[in-house]
Amino acid sequence: MNFNLTLVAQAITFAIFIWFSAKFVWPPLLAAIETRQKTIADGLSAAERGRLELEQASKKSTDSLREGKQQAAAMVAAAEKRAAEIVEEAKSAARVEAERIVEAARGQVEQDVQRAREDLRERVAELAVAGAERILRREVDAKAHSELLAGLKKEL
């Protein structure tokens, strides 16, 4: 063990190295690591936030899906009800129309019958008059008995 000026030289070297480390080595490493730690922490909290948002969004979508389903079901029910109503309306309208047509047809038939009866009566009257004429050709004066004939025709 021989102490000499080496000790002083080494102490100076040590001082230089400490200064170098404290000034140029430690700060950039510390800054890099702390920045990265911050980035990671931010990323983690962002991920957590994203997870919560996703949770909320999926809950919301489930809710709106259920709501939509309910609305659709209500709409279908309303539509079915409306369809039933329309069918019912159409049925009753058809019934009314049918009755009207039947009524009209019945009137027509009655008219026809009336007319036919009228025609028939006329024909019968003519035939009767014709028959009577044939029987009474000579004795009957058409002019004299025309009043009688007309009365007869009316009675028939």
């Binding site: 190295f17 400490i18 140029f24």
Partner: protein
């Protein structure tokens, strides 16, 4: 080993390898080998870290940066555990990193076989001891620097009055009759701290060097000696990894502990 004059016996061989390259400066001497080796290896190691730190990305680090950050975190965690007195990033952590990296690298030079290293250092000088921490001047330089910092921080934190008060009134108490006992105790403490701090590292590294040299002496005694020297040399080198890293770690930890103690009042 020198090619100019091969040592004739074991004593001369070991003495040759334990001789510093001393250069007279003024009235004293300077061990050129210790100073230059220590500076070069420290500059290389810290320069490497500086180079990585300068290009450090805040994103995903590469393997090189990850390695440096691993070391950074290790030192930072150690300092964080020992030094809870304010901002450690301005001084305490950088000095711990410096001590750890520098001492580790200086110690690790012990792994280079002395005669192999001499092939390179022999270009500069015949006498060149490769392990600066096996030079008591180096370890004392570091320990005394820490010692002065310890006193500096003691005075800075407690004030000159508080520091002197502590020397006379701690650890036994403030009674005037206890002043001499306190003073004696503190003197012992202030003397033993740098002594144990520096001699622990010096002793370990010096012993490691001596054992290597003894094994190399054995290796020069024939085939059996070469085989035995090689096997035991490998074994000692592997065990020495533990010592090299452990001593660097202890030196760093004690540096931080002493400086942290200087911040604590009694």
């Amino acid at each position: 080993m020198s090619t100019e004059h091969a040592p004739s016996n074991a004593t001369e061989y070991i003495q040759h390898h334990l001789t510093f390259n001393a250069y007279p400066v003024g009235d004293g001497m300077v061990h050129v080998d210790s100073v230059i080796t220590a500076f070069v290896i420290g500059a290389l190691a810290l320069g490497f870290i500086w180079w990585v730190a300068r290009g450090a990305t805040t994103g995903v680090p590469g393997k090189r940066q990850a390695f440096v950050e691993l070391m950074f975190e290790f030192v930072d965690d150690t300092v964080k555990g020992i030094f809870p007195h304010g901002d450690r990033h301005s001084f305490m952590a950088p000095i711990a990193l410096t001590v750890f990296v520098w001492v580790l690298m200086m110690n690790a030079l012990d792994f280079i076989p002395a005669d192999a290293a001499a092939k390179v250092t022999g270009l500069f000088s015949d006498e060149w001891r490769l392990v600066p921490t096996a030079d008591v001047n180096t370890t004392f330089a570091l320990a005394l620097a820490v010692w002065f910092l310890m006193i500096f921080y003691g005075i800075k934190v407690k004030g000159i009055g508080g520091w002197i008060h502590e020397i006379f009134c701690a650890p036994f108490g403030g009674h005037p009759l206890l002043w001499p006992a306190n003073l004696l105790f503190n003197i012992v403490e202030y003397v033993s701290k740098p002594l144990s701090h520096s001699l622990r590292l010096y002793g370990n590294m010096y012993a490691g060097e001596i054992i290597f040299l003894l094994l190399w002496v054995w290796a020069a005694t024939g085939v059996a000696g070469t085989v035995a020297g090689a096997i035991l040399g490998a074994g000692w080198a592997i065990f020495h990894i533990l010592i090299v890293v452990l001593q660097a770690y202890i030196f760093m930890t004690l540096t931080v502990v002493y400086l942290a103690m200087a911040h604590e009042g009694h």
